[in-house]
Symmetry: C2
Subunit: 190 residues, 2 copies
């Protein structure tokens, strides 16, 4: 069944018991998306959370020069959404897109917050998730403000190697704050 990966994930990563994990997971709906499919558009208010059974998504925005800037990538067994828009309930500047054909579990905002009220352990998991998203963002600020291109590339190789195997260089460059061609040259130099 399609809700099994999420159910397993909840059992392993929260204090929800077997039955609760099943109930929470069953509140999500299964969807399949193609490669490069836009899942949440720029300009609209984001109203869903996504759990990735299989595949990979990217959250990015377009700056005023027209360049893409990537906030982050998410792979199997993680949640992702246009979280800023979802929290503020303002139109999103973010675009959520698939980078591989992906299998997702979706839930709308109302149902999600319903779960959070009903299941204390799910609420705690959500709060922890936000805390760690913050820590990750903070770490990126620290890591990238001081580093030159070579250091950033090495950093990704060490900390998020999957980006270099599963994601297009163009998208990785937009995550590292450099252009396409600079990243290509840095890779050539090792």
């Amino acid at each position: 069944m399609n809700s099994l990966p999420l159910q397993d994930f909840l059992k392993k990563n929260t204090l929800l018991n077997e039955e609760e994990s099943e109930e929470v997971a069953n509140a999500f709906k299964f969807i399949k998306v193609r490669r490069n499919q836009v899942i949440e558009r720029e300009g609209s208010i984001c109203g869903h959370f996504y759990f990735i059974n299989k595949g990979c998504l990217r959250l990015y925005e377009i700056d005023k020069k027209g360049n893409e800037i990537t906030a982050y990538f998410a792979f199997e067994n993680s949640f992702i959404t246009s979280i800023t828009s979802l929290i503020t309930q303002k139109p999103s500047r973010d675009i959520l897109i698939s980078h591989e054909p992906s299998e997702l579990m979706v839930i709308d905002k109302a149902s999600f917050f319903n779960l959070i009220e009903r299941y204390t352990q799910f609420r705690l998991f959500y709060n922890k998730t936000i805390e760690f998203a913050f820590i990750h963002a903070q770490m990126r600020i620290y890591s990238f403000l001081g580093m030159d291109g070579t250091d950033k590339l090495k950093w990704v190789l060490e900390h998020e190697p999957m980006l270099l195997t599963r994601i297009s260089s163009k998208a990785v460059a937009s995550y590292l704050g450099m252009t396409n061609s600079t990243l290509s040259k840095l890779k050539a130099k090792l």
Copy 2:
């Protein structure tokens, strides 16, 4: 009384009522610090939250080249701490320092989480605070990855102008990811 600013803050920014705001505020202890006083050290596990009655603090770390990188500044009527260390309970890479003689309300971690359990509205406020800290960090990633120095300076002028009036250029430069002298030259060019 010294707990009044915090009490007022809680009344305005949470759904705690008068009495609860007072109880929460009274769980904090008043301290004064000099200018440039280290409040949380690098290498130790952070165990306190701080509310700023008056003054201004900065959170930063030192990268492997020996340069300072600033995570953020906080002024009157806001909370700050080495949040990454506090959440993970690992030794901090951050240093929390005062930039002006400051008056603070401190609470230790255990008492803080005690408050969070006891006062639902305080817990909700804390969760919201983390959410917005995340959004702020994310916005900085977006804002700074794409921008050149001039754009960053304009960005600060527009969004956090107090930095340029109350904070040393050196510290502001470390927040913007550029050197001292580059910032100085950019300011000279308008």
